[in-house]
């Protein structure tokens, strides 16, 4: 495992090159990433509001964890590569191209929900057009599947990279071990992203494992493992690009641990006051990924308070539209529950 806190490289003439330049990120890309961060955060807030209003029964939130998801969405070839997300990945699927309207249709379980037609709980994403594989609830089942998709890429030589994401809690399940082991034995083009937010619902890391960095587990499989500050978007992007390139160039899998924090309770059914202090939550809010990134954009004159405000105004309109659109949309009919048990032509 290697640290990722490298200083910005110096150019020949001695001037420090800005990190985004070093990473080859254009202004347009930086602003798009900023937009996705804020969109995800604001959409999340709106969804909690709808929950309080009794308009949606279940919420699971990625507030606080947006940076690594937005960074990875940019590091892969969205729509070409294959992604096995988990339920806390709204920022990831938005950054990849799901629209707020589509996310809202899913959140409100409408017939046109592109993820499941209202069949799955909210936050169980899935989007065939972009190779975002349908998320299920059982934790960590996506890991061996991601290895399998990458194995298929090896067989077909299709040049695709598979990205999969899981929480710290999911790394305790045997699936994690079996998936990373298999992926490494066959040097598969897959990247395993662990979003370590310090808790599996109420169970803190200290009760889940006896190690400091989850990335150190990569050594068990003979693959590279990296721990990165998950709230530092550009650092995650640096690590993500490396991992994705390694996978694409036949260098095999990488385990990336993004250390981060969820601001909200585990879900709308949880009460986190039972197991963590308000001080802890506040502390993390001082490391907010969006604020950090905005400081950076301001320092490099890509944004200022005013333009940040404009972005939020625009996003609010987008979200208003998404909510209105989704609220107007129809629920699935009761009988439609009988469809798609098997391929239609074979339904019996």
């Amino acid at each position: 495992m290697r640290s990722t806190n490298e200083p910005s490289v110096k150019t020949k003439d001695g001037f420090a090159k800005a990190k985004h330049e070093e990473l080859g990120l254009s202004q347009e890309e930086l602003l798009k990433m900023h937009y996705d961060l804020v969109l995800s955060r604001m959409l999340d807030e709106r969804i909690w509001m709808l929950n309080r209003q009794g308009k949606t029964a279940f919420v699971i939130s990625c507030a606080g964890q947006e940076a690594s998801q937005v960074a990875f969405a940019r590091a892969i070839k969205s729509g070409f590569d294959i992604v096995f997300p988990y339920y806390r990945n709204m920022a990831l699927v938005l950054a990849m191209g799901m629209t707020p309207r589509e996310v809202m249709l899913h959140q409100l379980s409408k017939a046109d929900d592109p993820c499941s037609g209202g069949r799955q709980m909210p936050s169980h994403y899935g989007y065939p057009k972009l190779n975002i594989i349908s998320v299920s609830s059982p934790v960590a089942t996506q890991l061996t599947q991601a290895a399998g998709a990458a194995y298929a890429s090896k067989l077909k030589k299709d040049g695709k990279v598979t990205l999969t994401s899981v929480g710290d809690g999911g790394t305790s399940k045997g699936d994690f071990h079996e998936a990373l082991n298999f992926a490494s034995v066959h040097a598969l083009p897959v990247v395993f992203l662990v979003e370590n937010n310090g808790y599996a619902i109420s169970v803190p890391i200290s009760k889940q494992m006896h190690i400091k960095d989850i990335s150190s587990r990569a050594a068990s499989y003979g693959m590279p493992g990296v721990t990165v500050d998950g709230n530092d978007l550009l650092e995650v992007y640096r690590v993500a690009v490396e991992a994705v390139e390694r996978a694409r160039n036949g260098g095999g899998p990488t385990l990336v641990e993004a250390k981060t924090y969820r601001y909200r309770p585990h879900s709308s059914s949880d009460d986190d006051r039972a197991y963590r202090t308000r001080e802890e939550v506040e502390e993390w809010k001082h490391k907010d990924p969006i604020e950090q990134f905005e400081r950076y954009l301001e320092e490099h004159n890509f944004m200022d308070k005013e333009s940040e405000k404009q972005v939020r105004l625009k996003i609010r309109q987008v979200i208003d539209d998404a909510q209105e659109y989704a609220e107007k949309a129809a629920y699935p009919s009761p009988e439609s529950a009988l469809k798609y048990v098997y391929a239609e032509e074979e339904v019996r």
Binding site: F58, S109, K173, S202, V203, P334, V341
Partner: protein, 329 residues
């Protein structure tokens, strides 16, 4: 006496048994500080400490294996699976190990573990927080499978399960956990409800209904609807699925001549098939009508959207309709 909901009755049983017997301990995800996502273990860690109320890593196979190993070393573990949907990674441990240790060792070892799991839907749990898994476990000799319906029985049967010398899969219908209508006066003190005994909760003559968990209550409601129509329905609460109280099932049909089996799990391959098979073999001469089943539809799991969830769940009206049809046969 105290008025208790289902989940409170479960909580009381755990509390009592842990006080009574040092060998009893609980383990599972979020059972400690959090007191369980359904609060069944609320306050236990405070009284018994972190060692006896153990928050495990997220690994159901490990939860089951650790419980089994602890039982082999003299403990009486109660393992909680957060949702029955997530018990599947533990199936190898439960059916290959727990259920067979006594048998394979020719009675040399035993495995007194209780595997608790909240099952069933109608709570907007969607495809992976609504599963009924009873048929998967009831088919394995060596296991006992308990599915109470009333707070009194939850407490008495959980105590019996914890004291049982063999592994028990204890299934708790999550929709009944806190149903206000289900509150019941139950004794504070120690009492046992024996595993393997069904209970006729409504005497009747027109037809017999066999059910458990939430569907038992829905069936009772349906039976009351029909009372006004002059139909007198008998309702049998199975309480235990393995070992099944065959006598109770057969005797009821000997009396009524008609059988309706109700469960929430989908029809094909569900537990109802076994009851029908027993009746078709051992009560054949008493049957005046076909054996009917009223169950969830044959789709992979309960959808989340309310209209589809409602479509999935058998309810008093659907059940009453099935009763009318059967009575009219």
């Amino acid at each position: 006496m105290a008025v208790r909901t289902v989940v409170e009755a479960i909580h009381d049983a755990l509390m009592d048994e842990m006080r009574r017997d040092e060998r009893v301990f609980v383990l599972g995800e979020d059972v400690g500080l959090r007191g369980g996502v359904f609060r069944a273990t609320d306050g236990l860690q405070k009284e018994f400490g972190e060692l006896r109320v153990l928050d495990t890593p997220l690994a159901e196979g490990c939860i089951a294996g650790v419980a089994i190993g602890a039982a082999l070393n003299g403990m009486r573990p109660v393992a909680e699976f957060q949702f029955a949907d997530f018990i599947h990674p533990a199936i190898e441990q439960i059916i290959d190990e727990a259920a067979r240790i006594r048998y394979r060792s020719n009675n040399g070892f035993s495995c007194p573990v209780v595997f608790r799991a909240p099952y069933g839907g109608g709570v907007q749990g969607g495809m992976y927080h609504s599963q009924s898994v009873e048929a998967m476990f009831a088919q394995w000799p060596g296991l006992k499978v308990v599915t109470p319906s009333f707070p009194y029985d939850y407490k008495g049967l959980l105590k019996a399960a914890i004291r049982d010398a063999d592994p028990v899969v204890f299934l708790e219908h999550k929709k009944t956990y806190a149903l206000p209508g289900l509150r019941q006066e139950i004794p504070d003190g120690d009492y046992i409800v024996p595993i393997g005994k069904a209970k006729t909760v409504r005497e009747g003559t027109t037809l017999s209904v066999f059910a458990y968990g939430m569907m038992l209550h829905q069936s009772l409601e349906a039976a009351n609807l029909l009372a006004n129509e002059g139909l007198n329905v008998e309702v049998v609460d199975l309480r235990t699925l393995r070992p099944l109280d065959k006598e109770a099932v057969i005797n009821s049909v000997k009396k009524t001549g008609r059988a309706l089996i109700v469960h929430e799990a989908n029809l094909f391959g569900g537990f109802g098939g076994e009851i029908a098979a027993i009746l078709a073999e051992e009560a054949f001469e008493y049957l005046d009508a076909p054996i009917r089943r009223c169950t969830g539809p044959d789709i992979p799991a309960m959808p989340f959207a309310q209209p589809m969830e409602d479509f999935f769940m058998p309810n008093p009206h659907k059940i009453a309709e099935a009763m009318r049809k059967l009575a009219a046969y």
